[in-house]
């Protein structure tokens, strides 16, 4: 039993080390290739632009639900005027970065993992190597930089739409004073809160994109089943591990940022 736990622990540390080397090598390789800007723009479109609709929809509904839930909690303490503050801080510091990252993993991260996995199976990654093209700089690094740019922007969009969703429920439907809603947000939300949210978004972007690309890139090693089923297995694993990484790193970051 102890031996098994030890082996699992060593395997986890070893995989984490491989992932770190993979991410750092990919990040460093972008500027050593041609047409880096062109590839970066294409990746921003894939990770960022294509995820805008889902981010806005989820942001709106999250704000709507949050407005409703918090209103009923706050009325118990006759503090419904604090609704704006509660909605804004919850979304900006916690829900915005986490939900946005999970949405992007569901849409772009799974696609990235599957695409690279299929390229591995179709020997396209080997083909790049035989053409003396670095597969990490060609396939992975533009996506990593695109994630660093897109995650905070999409998080900001989620935050804005979410706060408007809370306003829609609280002010338009339940009758909270509009002035109190906006004034509480203005008074309570600091630049640090917003920056902390963006820091989380950047961390999630780097972590999840690395995990998804890593799982796809080594699909032939990570999955015991070859072919399409192997790719499906590593894609699922990529999404699950990314979601766990988001929540675990969120806890660590929140602990660190709140203490600071």
């Amino acid at each position: 039993m102890i031996g098994r736990i030890g082996r699992k622990g060593i395997s986890f540390i070893s995989e984490f080390g491989e992932l770190t080397i993979f991410s750092v090598s990919s990040l460093l390789s972008l500027f050593r290739q041609r047409h880096a800007f062109e590839k970066l723009v294409r990746s921003i479109y894939e990770i960022g632009v294509r995820c805008i609709p889902i981010t806005l929809i989820v942001g709106l509904f999250t704000g709507l639900v949050l407005g409703l839930q918090l209103y009923y909690v706050l009325t118990k303490f006759s503090s419904e005027s604090l609704l704006g503050q509660a909605v804004a801080l919850s979304i900006i510091m916690e829900i915005g970065p986490v939900f946005t990252a999970i949405m992007i993993v569901g849409q772009a991260g799974s696609a990235l993992s599957a695409e690279i996995g299929i390229q591995r199976n179709a020997e396209q990654i080997d083909a790049l190597q035989t053409m003396r093209i670095n597969p990490l700089s060609f396939l992975v690094s533009p996506r990593l930089y695109a994630a660093l740019i897109c995650f905070p922007i999409l998080t900001a969009m989620f935050d804005i739409v979410g706060i408007f969703g809370g306003h829609l429920t609280g002010v338009s439907m339940l009758g909270v004073d509009e002035g109190a809603y906006w004034n509480r947000i203005y008074e309570s939300v600091s630049v640090k809160n917003v920056m902390d949210g963006f820091l989380k978004a950047i961390t999630f972007g780097l972590l999840t994109t690395s995990i998804c690309a890593f799982q796809g890139y080594f699909t032939n090693i990570k999955s015991r089943i070859p072919g399409a089923r192997g790719v499906s297995q590593t894609t699922t694993r990529a999404v699950v591990l990314s979601s766990i990484a988001i929540l675990a790193s969120d806890y660590l970051l929140t602990s660190f940022l709140l203490v600071k």
């Binding site: 290739q33 041609r34 047409h35 390229q119 179709a122 020997e123 396209q124 080997d126 083909a127 190597q129 035989t130 053409m131 003396r132 093209i133 060609f138």
Partner: protein, 242 residues
């Protein structure tokens, strides 16, 4: 083994306890076609992957004859072509040049279109690999291999899964374009004896070692004892004219 262009010395590769390549020595003459034959799973593709750098050999050297220089400019043709399905034919062919520092867009475009015309692929330039036939896909893969003017092309079972007619078409294509462009070929194939019609040398890989190396005619007329069992089922088949 004289007048070698490429010298492979003591090349070894093992996976765990399994020895795949056991200190292989092989000479590839300049402008020749050498085919490595052998049973399935014996390590033919591993040999090519060690030569191309896709796998790191455990021991051994590969270098140009009489020099310390490692493997010259080489290209690799994969079994399933390994074309990028989201790129057009011309984008696929131009990829190695486009990613190479110093090649202008115009230069790449001109070279790609010249090569596509020479390989009779001009009309397919803007199509995606999925929109063209299997034979055309092979020619696109060959065009991509040729775009950097390689001195040697490694072919990994280029006729896998093809019917006899298409198999001969691929062999003819390799022979014709080798004569036209003048490159050295090292091919892995299990199409015995069909491949004897286009190859200059045959290397028989068995139990991790090269068991025979020489012209195919000698192999057919007087096969060495250990090779008889491997060739017997196929020698009665008619060999195509070169």
């Amino acid at each position: 083994m004289s007048d070698a262009f490429l010298e492979i010395r003591g090349l070894s590769k093992r996976f765990g306890d399994q020895v795949i390549l056991d200190s292989i020595d092989l000479d590839i003459p300049l402008d020749s076609h050498t085919t490595v034959i052998g049973k399935s799973g014996i390590g033919k593709s591993v040999l090519l992957k060690c030569l191309s750098g896709l796998l790191t050999p455990d021991a051994g050297t590969v270098h140009l004859s009489g020099s310390k220089e490692t493997l010259p400019q080489c290209a690799y043709m994969f079994q399933q072509n390994a074309l990028f399905d989201s790129m057009t034919v011309s984008e696929n062919v131009g990829l190695p040049l486009r990613e190479k520092a110093g090649a202008s867009k115009k230069l790449v475009s001109n070279k790609v279109h010249d090569l596509l015309d020479q390989l009779e692929l001009g009309p397919a330039a803007s199509k995606y690999p999925a929109e063209i036939s299997g034979g055309m896909q092979k020619r696109v893969a060959l065009a991509r291999a040729l775009i950097t003017n390689p001195e040697i092309i490694l072919f990994d079972e280029p006729t896998t899964g093809l019917d006899p007619q298409r198999k001969f078409a691929v062999f003819d294509m390799i022979r014709d374009y080798r004569q036209k462009f003048g490159f050295t070929v090292l091919m892995v194939s299990h199409d015995v004896p069909e491949v004897f019609g286009i190859t200059d040398q045959v290397a028989w890989l068995d139990a991790g070692k090269i068991g025979y190396w020489g012209p195919p005619n000698d192999l057919i007329s007087s096969p060495p004892e250990p090779l008889v069992a491997f060739l017997n089922p196929t020698l009665s088949t008619e060999t195509p004219a070169a």
